[in-house]
Amino acid sequence: MKRIARLIGALAAGLVFGWGLIVSRMFSPAKVLGFLDVGGAWDPSLALVMGGAIPVAAIGFALAGRRQRTLLGEPLQLPTARVIDGRLVLGSLAFGVGWGLAGFCPGPAWVAAGTLAPRALVFLAAMLVGMGLFEWLEHLRTSAASAAASSDVLQRQDA
């Protein structure tokens, strides 16, 4: 029963979130690029989208933070990382370049893909490949690190 309630909650959350992107027009890259174009005819709409979303979400986080549990009585699973490092900044810069080139970020890409617009589907597919590439690079990095660690152990045993 809880399992079903969780799924329905997530589906409703996705629908409402997606409607927000449609109502605010942010699912359309041309609208987003109008905000990012501060050197031209600037459309400040996206700032108001954030101005509407952040206070409402802040109330949600304050409510959930006080309970420390979901409405179904389960623990919250929120990110705990606090460090601001090169990965965070360089990753965000790369994301921003892609965002500025196409006008799509991940949420609007899924919503626009729901209209079956071919260009939205192509962007979404490339984004998923990019995420897969990250998993592969991380896998290479961690296996290289563990190989280095184990060869280090072997060398120490040799000595």
Partner: protein, 144 residues
């Protein structure tokens, strides 16, 4: 800089923003999760045990949103001007970048800022800055 009053849509932007905040709150109250679309998507590509259902349900909601919306009202214009080559390059950058950054516009820009996270503020400043710079270069420096 001058404001393009003919494109500026303050009320629908605010109303849409409130809906986005409500969607994030629903996911938090029912699933205890943060509505970060890049992280939710990444967890579908590389699923952990018993962690797939809510992610698929949330993404299904995003995909079905325009379908449900269109049942009640005409969809606003969806305009994608970028060429296929640019869309592919941009998609790769957005996919890779958001994973290295552990978040995107929703996870850092909305939820992270709503939690007063300095990490999310740094990420949001970086991707907004890069977005502004990229559009400036594309439209005003390299454009003929």
């Amino acid at each position: 800089m001058h404001i393009d009053m003919s494109s500026f849509t303050p009320w629908s932007a605010l109303a849409g923003g409130v809906l986005i905040g409500l969607g994030a709150t629903l996911l938090l109250l029912f699933d205890g999760r943060m509505a970060g679309v890049s992280g939710i998507t990444a967890g579908i590509i590389h699923p952990a045990r018993d962690d797939l259902g809510w992610r698929l349900a949330f993404v299904a909601g995003l995909i079905l949103a325009p379908v449900c919306y269109a049942a009640f009202a005409a969809l606003p214009e969806l305009r994608i001007d970028a060429s296929y080559a640019i869309l592919i390059a941009a998609g790769l950058l957005v996919g890779l970048g958001t994973r290295y950054a552990s978040g995107c516009t929703s996870g850092h820009g909305v939820c992270g800022l709503a939690r007063w996270s300095p990490r999310s503020l740094a990420a949001t400043a970086a991707f907004m800055g890069a977005g502004f710079a990229t559009v400036f270069l594309v439209r005003h420096v390299f454009a003929s």
